[in-house]
Amino acid sequence: MKNFKKTLALLAALALSATAFYGCDTGSSNAGNSAANDGGNSATEESKTEDSAAGTDGEAASGDQLTILCWNANDSQPMVDLFCEKTGTDPSLINIKNFNVQGGQASEQYTQYLANADNDADIMFLEADWCLNFINDDAQTLPLSELGYSESDFSDIYDYVVETGKSTTTGALKGISWQAAAGGFCYRDDLAEQYLGVKTPDEMQEKVKDWDTFLATAKTLKDANGPALSATLGGVWQVYSGSRDSAWVKDGKLLVDDYCTKYAEFAHTLYNEGYVTKVSQWSPEWTPLGQTDDVMGFFVSTWGFGDTILTAAAGGEGGATFGKWKCVVGPSEFYWGGTWLAPAARINNKELAKQFIDFFTINEEGATAYAEKQGEYMSNKKVMEAIIAKGDYKGAPVLGGQNQFEVLNKVADGIDMKGKITPYDAVIKNEFSNAVNGYCDGTYATVDEAMDAFKDGVAGQITDGSVTID
């Protein structure tokens, strides 16, 4: 107890001096900030290794660094690694500002971070669903022309990728993606053979070529007491949402049409007949389903062939089902996710930023290297077709010899996003799929009730009156 007293007295003394400090600091913001950082992180130095591994190096003066805002390091870290390796750039010149949240929350984190004018930002990673929040905002992002690009520079890039990066208010091109987030349907070929007698991906494609056959195949599987055809409703929704033929908001009005009710009924059938499992997408049980015999397939986007979805589903290298997967186009061409690179309005490192964007989009050498390293289907069509033609790339190991690029090449050709993207997509799609889930699990008794909840949900989120909802 004696020690306790001593400690207490010591802490009290420390505390007093700290408050004194504080009193002086509140006025001068920068001093306050750095003092706080020192105070808050006095023990940080010794764990430098962990910190730099996470790629956050906020302590160094970030003014001359290329600061990349992203919500996870799944892409940014390998990108920066490869970029530095191939171009000989000093890694310390690049600062990955990882907010470490789900994609859907990144937008709010960015906004708060950027609200402080002292915070540095050069390139922002923006997800397709909400990229317009920033791309339409000239206070936050710069047109790519400011970096010296013209639209013709991106002639090798898939149209829909370029289209998505354009501001819907001014039409200026403000962001570009390195990936064509096309996706396919990946299935277990051992299960397919066992239950469906399918031997090749082409035969499988026949079994899932559109939604009606998809449903019929799912029924065949269930009747044979077999696995669910697809893992989750969320996956189906990703694909189905891609096949919507109009934008969600037209003339400032939320469009709730036949498409919505049709999907709701479809989902209801899938869910309650056991054609998909009841697991939620992105829940901890989701990918482990791939190691059970309860599920035959996953819908996977280009970024999902690695650890994110498919490799994880197979249990990693040497996992229970590793190498037993195959990929087909599936019922409908779709893109899922996809990250756009946009220069921040406060960019102070244009040259390096341009070099970085170049490297992953129009720089053929860079794009090829990244595609082969990560197994990602790049947005540069020319590069991808060259890789396929060359035949060096053998496909993601989890596919056991199939080259997913060949499949994704067919998918990417079929994607048309022109005029279908709105700034509200993230909110609307999220609310819609929540409402449909509610209909499936019985929270809402009828489709009408679910659609009403959907409208209410959107109304509660888009509060600035820019979208009318009836």
């Binding site: 408050t19 509140t26 789900q102 859907g104 929350q105 937008s107 709010e108 906004t111 708060q112 929040n133 056991g274 499992t277 009841k278 697991v279 939620s280 997408q281 992105w282 829940s283 901890p284 049980e285 482990p288 389903l289 999220n430 799929s433 929540n434 889930n437 699990d441 929270t443 409208k455 209410d456 949900g457 109304a459 509660g460 989120q461 888009i462 509060t463 600035d464 009156g465 009318t468 909802i469 009836d470």
Partner: protein
């Protein structure tokens, strides 16, 4: 025999030290709580999202309390009341079992006639969940109660034939199931704390009362209803009110206990509403602040009720109370950590 030193001390005015000593508290309170509070009130009469700078008068309150013509206003109104209702339900559902259990255990642990083996062990175990971070509790319960057969609880129920494999219980999204889990988790976390609070209150009741009752041949039920409970009344009321104020603030579990980004409307509390409205883009500081002010009014009303209840009691039994009051006061500390 007054020494000159003593005289000297008497003549010095020490009043200024009083000001010095309470000054840090008031400075900090002013900057970190009073200004923010006033700021919240100010924000509640300003606009939302892109119109955050505009003065809008009482319109935020009008929309939240009475809804409005368009769907957005109606939805916000519905949300606020839905969330207030949830808050009430969740509080009620965890407070009743919590108080009942804590009271029972506290009476047993303080009963001198009962020789309970391993009393300290039980007390220590029961207090344990309180020190586990709420975030970890949410993570843990989310995994235990996972809604499919891959969750431990569901798999247990399936294996023992309580439910069929194709019909697992949706503990995460189901309306009453998810509420039930949160109520259980809250009870689990806080009953040990409440129990110890009540124990110290019971131990504060004069032993002679219990001894007298013992001599008079009162049985334990009588002792409980005639002595323990009446004397504990202020304490129970106090627990009720602090718990209610804690309950109104309930945030961690409802915020974290969900799958992915899908908000669960049946467990969303008013604190979650406030948090989300100024976090999710577009930031609606106005609605958030207005909801805070509504919460403030409710809290103040409850505070006043608590005060009134205690004063009432004071008038009735002045004598016994001086002591009890002190005890209550000591337990006021509970509110300092927004607990239950």
């Amino acid at each position: 025999m007054k020494s000159s030193a003593q005289n000297k001390i008497r003549s010095i005015s020490y009043a200024k030290y009083g000001y010095y000593f309470i000054l840090p508290f008031f400075i900090v309170y002013f900057i970190f709580q009073l200004v923010p509070l006033i700021n919240t009130f100010r924000l509640s009469v300003y606009g939302n999202g892109n119109f955050a700078q505009d003065y809008v008068g009482m319109s935020n309150f009008k929309i939240l309390l009475f809804g409005g013509a368009n769907r957005t206003e109606a939805a916000l109104h519905k949300d606020v009341f839905n969330d207030l209702f949830n808050t009430l339900i969740l509080w009620f559902g965890n407070f009743i079992p919590q108080l009942a259990l804590s009271l029972l255990l506290a009476v047993w642990f303080t009963d001198i006639n009962l020789k309970i083996k391993g009393k300290t062990f039980f007390k220590i175990v029961m207090y344990l969940p309180n020190i586990v971070t709420a975030a970890s509790v949410a993570a843990l319960f989310l995994m235990l109660f996972s809604k499919t057969k891959y969750g431990p609880i569901n798999s247990f129920l399936i294996d023992h034939g309580f439910i069929s494999e194709n019909d697992p219980i949706d503990f995460v999204k189901g309306k009453w199931q998810s509420r039930g889990v949160i109520m259980f988790a809250q009870t689990w976390m806080w009953f040990g704390n409440t129990m110890i609070m009540l124990m110290s209150a019971i131990m504060g009741i004069s032993k002679s009362l219990f001894e007298a009752a013992d001599i008079d041949g009162a049985n334990s039920r009588q002792v409980f209803t005639k002595i323990t409970l009446p004397l504990l009344r202020p304490m129970v009321i106090y627990t009720l009110v602090t718990s209610m104020i804690g309950g109104l603030q309930m945030w961690d579990l409802p915020y974290l206990y969900k799958n992915g980004t899908a908000w669960n409307k049946s467990t969303e509390t008013i604190a979650v509403f406030i948090y989300n409205k100024f976090h999710i883009i577009p930031q609606n500081y106005g609605y958030s602040a207005a909801a805070s002010v509504i919460l403030f009014v409710i809290t103040s009303a409850l505070g006043c009720i608590c005060f009134a209840m205690n004063t009432d009691k004071e008038d009735k039994k002045k004598k016994a109370l001086a002591k009890e009051q002190r005890k209550q006061a000591k337990l006021q500390s509970k509110s300092s950590f927004g607990g239950f």
